[in-house]
Symmetry: C2
Subunit: 249 residues, 2 copies
């Protein structure tokens, strides 16, 4: 007797949607998403597509009514419950477009709950297209298997961020003047956390003083080499995930 082929297959496309998902719900799809499924992935009637919306977990849906520019997806079964995302925020100063886009993509893959843009004195960029960052995160979530896209906060000024900081959340920051090795800092400070990364030019002395003086702040060291802002963000996020996040489970 031949084995029953697994359904949905591992190669099924994954798609983030806004619609509710659940037993016998039908989701109409058009626009870019329909183009992707029909023309790029060549989805046929009956093929599986995995759907998630950040609220209802992941559902395997069956493609139907495929036309030139739209199709419908019928939810068949839940394939993943809504995941518990590690309680970790990445607070990053805006940097140039290609590099902040990379940070958004990698932050999503690595598992952050929230990306919080932070405006500091030396920022060379003072505006961010949050919609574009969200698009990169949606694509990363589709690719990496998350059932929710990370939240993105509105840009906050550093002093306001520090003033309104939730007391129970550790604020790790890479201090050029030195700090604890990440290994030790993360082991000593478990629980909700955030990582604060400055812009390419670093923090000013005054900013560094304000951060160091904050009761939630924990200075960390990222080693003897000078990391670019996006490298520091990705590297320290990965180290936190491996130490205190869900990579050790």
């Amino acid at each position: 007797m031949p084995a029953t082929p697994a359904w949905p297959p591992r190669s099924a496309p994954r798609l983030h949607v806004e619609a509710d998902l659940g037993e016998s719900i039908t989701v109409p799809v058009d626009g870019n998403a329909a183009h992707y499924l029909i023309s790029v992935m060549r989805v046929k009637d009956g093929d599986a597509v995995l759907l998630f919306n950040g609220r209802d977990g992941e559902w395997a849906a069956r493609a139907a009514d495929i036309r030139k520019r739209d199709l419908v997806l019928e939810c068949m079964e839940q394939t993943k419950a809504l995941e518990a995302v590690p309680n970790f925020w990445l607070c990053a100063a805006p940097i140039k477009k290609a590099r902040i886009d990379m940070v958004a993509e990698k932050a999503c893959e690595l598992g952050v709950a929230k990306l919080q843009p932070v405006l500091t004195s030396r920022a060379v960029v003072d505006k961010l297209n949050l919609e574009r960052l969200r698009t990169h995160m949606v694509e990363a979530a589709e690719q990496c298997g998350r059932t929710a896209v990370p939240d993105i906060g509105e840009m906050a000024k550093l002093d306001a961020l520090l003033r309104d900081w939730p007391a129970e959340r550790h604020l790790f920051f890479a201090d050029e003047l030195g700090g604890a090795p990440m290994r030790d800092a993360f082991a000593a400070h478990t629980g909700p956390a955030a990582l604060l990364i400055g812009p390419e030019g670093g923090f000013t002395d005054q900013e560094r003083e304000a951060i160091r003086a904050h009761s939630s702040a924990v200075a960390i060291s990222l080693g003897p080499r000078i990391l670019r802002a996006e490298t520091a963000a990705i590297a320290a996020t990965a180290c936190w995930m491996a130490s205190n996040g869900d990579w050790a489970e």
Copy 2:
């Protein structure tokens, strides 16, 4: 009495050169490097430029004889000894251009000793421009303060790499079928190490079997999300550096 300004200043440009460096040695510079110093960094006579060549540490040099397309740099004093680089190789399957360039840049910043391209069955790219990768690494070394550019190996086939593997070097590889959390794997296996990362499509079953069967291989887990090849390479390298490299010193 005013404080003597520090020389060389922190803002001094850094430049990788091929020439020998040392007491009273003069290095002529032309081409792109001269254009960068003269037209981009606007270096004037007497300004400091930091030089390194991978052999003689870092030297502060003084700019002289600045003309339109060339200048000379006179070595004044050694500012860093040749660094001891963490004994870590990144063995990575080639992936698309922008993403492998990113891996080369980040590998250098993070501190790898060697980048070893590895050809596997599912590689979508089977040629690599090693000169271009090296250019990215030179720029990253100039930026991050290294005194040597990582070595780049010629592309090796996976079976040859495994056959000729140096027995004393741990070969960590991210196994989709599961492995030890990095935290535990790195703590249990100190000493010379390498990380093996497959292409976008992963290893074949046969390749995975061959790697698992190797006496130096240690399977690691990179968490519950599916990381892109370059994300896995950067994240696991950062975690090794923070745990077993020179980030904890």
